[in-house]
C-alpha cells in the first residue's frame, strides 16, 4: 500500500500495479474501511482497478492528518478475502438479437466463432466490477474470455444506445446512458443501470459480480427493452 498526495484536498492510495482479483478485493475492502472510518473528513472516494482516490475537506483535516488516518483505517485489514463472501452477484438479462447486437457479426469474424458460441461464451462467465467511470454508472467488467476479446472499434460510434452491452479487449460493459463509445456491441439489457430516483442510484457497485442471462426477443420486450434508441 502506498499513499501519495495529489493536491491540497486529494490523495491516492495504490494497492498494486496489475489488474487482478486480489488487488481488486483490497481496493473494495479499503473503500469500505475508509468510508466507515473517515466519513467526517472525506468528500469523495474514487476507487478503480488498483487504487482509491481520496478527496477530503481541508477545513477539517490537512495532509498530515489524512495520511495518518488513512494508515490507521487500512492497517491490518484489507486482505481481500472477506470481500468475496459479501459481494453480491447480479444477474442481468441480455438480448443478443441482431436488431441490438450491432457488432456481433464483427466479433464472430474476429473470433471465427458462430453467434451462438460468442453469446454462450459471453454469458456463461461471472464478471467482476473492477471500476466505475467514463459516465455515471458505467461499470468496467472483467475479464472477457480471450476468444471474444475484440479490441475497440477504430472509429467510435457517436451515440451508443442505452443498455448496450459491449466488449473492449479483456473488458465488457453496459452503457447506462446514450453516449459516444467505441466498444463492440453484442447485445442490450432492458435493465436500468442508473436511476437517480431510486435509493441505490446505480445498479452495479465496485466489487459486485455480474452474470449475463441470454433472453429472447419476447422477454426483452416484456422487460421494457427498447429497439428505437438509435
Amino acid at each position: 500500500m502506498r499513499i501519495e498526495g495529489i493536491n491540497e484536498s486529494t490523495c491516492i492510495v495504490y494497492f498494486g500495479d496489475t489488474i487482478c482479483d486480489e488487488t481488486a478485493g483490497r481496493v473494495k475492502q479499503a473503500t469500505d474501511n475508509i468510508r466507515a472510518a473517515l466519513s467526517d473528513v472525506i468528500t469523495d472516494l474514487v476507487p478503480s482497478y488498483t487504487s482509491v482516490m481520496v478527496c477530503y475537506d481541508l477545513e477539517r483535516i490537512d495532509r498530515f492528518g489524512i495520511h495518518t488516518r488513512l494508515r490507521q483505517a487500512l492497517e491490518g485489514g484489507a486482505t481481500g478475502t472477506q470481500d468475496d463472501a459479501q459481494a453480491q452477484t447480479l444477474e442481468l438479462p441480455v438480448y443478443y438479437g441482431p436488431e441490438v447486437a450491432l457488432d456481433l457479426k464483427d466479433v464472430c469474424e474476429f473470433s471465427g466463432l458462430s453467434p451462438d458460441e460468442v453469446i454462450r461464451i459471453h454469458s456463461e462467465q461471472t464478471y467482476r466490477v473492477y471500476a466505475i467511470g467514463f459516465s455515471p454508472g458505467f461499470a468496467f467488467l472483467g475479464s472477457t474470455d480471450q476468444r471474444i476479446a475484440m479490441p475497440r472499434k477504430s472509429t467510435p460510434r457517436l451515440k451508443v444506445p442505452v443498455g448496450s452491452v459491449g466488449i473492449a479487449g479483456a473488458q465488457t460493459a453496459i452503457y447506462p446512458s446514450a453516449t459516444p463509445g467505441g466498444w463492440q456491441i453484442v447485445g442490450r439489457t432492458p435493465s436500468k443501470m442508473v436511476d437517480w430516483d431510486s435509493e441505490s442510484l446505480a445498479l452495479a457497485q465496485i466489487g459486485d459480480r455480474i452474470k449475463f442471462r441470454s433472453i429472447d426477443r419476447e422477454e426483452f420486450i416484456s422487460l421494457g427493452g427498447q429497439f428505437d434508441e438509435l
Binding site: 501519495e4 487504487s51 495532509r63 459516465s135 446512458s177
Partner: protein, 313 residues
Amino acid sequence: MSFEVLDPGMLTQVQDMGRLGYQHIGVTTGGPMDEHAFLWANRLLNNPLNAPQLEITFGRLSLLAHSDTSIALTGADLGARLNDRPIEPWQTYEISKGDRLSFSMPVAGLRAYLAVSGGLDIPARLGSAATVTREQLGGLDGTGAKLAKGDRIPLAPPSAVAKASVPYSEIPDYRKPLRVGVIPGYQYQHFPRSARARFFTSEYQVSQNIDRMGYRLSGEAIHGDLDGIISEGIAYGAIQIPTDGQPIVLMKDRQTIGGYPKIGSLSALGAGQLAQRAPGASVSFYLSDVADAEARRMIFNHRLRQGAPGTTG
C-alpha cells in the same frame, strides 16, 4: 421572485460548489470553474457559501428582474450593464423590479459569477444544483440544461444587504500571463528529467479546445515512458499528458477516472485562474507541492471568512 432570461448568451449555467459524494458511481462534481470568484460572490451577500449562482461564460446574457433583490457580481469583466449603466465586477448592486441586467463580451477573464441575495432557489439533484450537461444532472429543472430564452430563474427571498466590495488585494488580473504551481504526482516519476525541464521552462498557450471538462494547452510536447496507465481517479486540476505530448488540464466536468498518464496537478485555486483564460493566453508552470497549495488555500479561506467592508461574520 424571479429573473427572466431574455437572452441566455453563449453558455450560462446554474452552479453551486458541486455534486460531492457520487464519484464512486461515476458522477462527476461539476461546480464553479473559478472557486475564488464564486465564493466571493456568495460572501459579499452573506449567503451560504454553497448557494447556487449563475456562471456566465463569455457573455451576451440578458436578464429581466421580476422582483427587488441584491446581487453580487464577481469573476470576469464581461461588459455588464445594469439598465444602461456599465457596472464593474467584485461588488454588490441593488436590483429593482423591471431592471435589466445584461452582459456583452469579455473585457478581462472568461467567466462571471452572478449571485443573488439568499441564492437561486433551485432544487438539488443528488445533493447539488450544479449543472452537468453531459450527465443530464442539475440546473433549473434538474436535467442538466443550460439556460434558455424564456426561462424563469426562481430566487430565494432576499435579505437586507449592505453595499460591499471585494478587497482590492483579492481581485486577480486575468489579463496577465498565468504562472501557476504544479504539484508533482501521479506518474511524475515516469517523465524523464529532460521532459520535466521542458515542461517547467516552456510557455504554453491556451488552445481553442477548452470547455468545462478540460483545458487543452499547446506548446512544447512532453513525452514520458508510458502510453497509458491502469485507469485511476482524476483530481480537479490534474494534468494529463496524452500521446501527442500536449497537456490537458482536467476541469470541473472531467470524467471521474481515466487512463492517460498525468504529470501532476494544479491546486483548485490555480485551476480556477486557468479557467479565466481564453484561447491564446500564455500559461507557464512552476514546481510547487501539496504544502504550498495547502497554505495558499488556508490563507484564501481565512480572508474569505474575514469578509469585506459591508459583510458580516
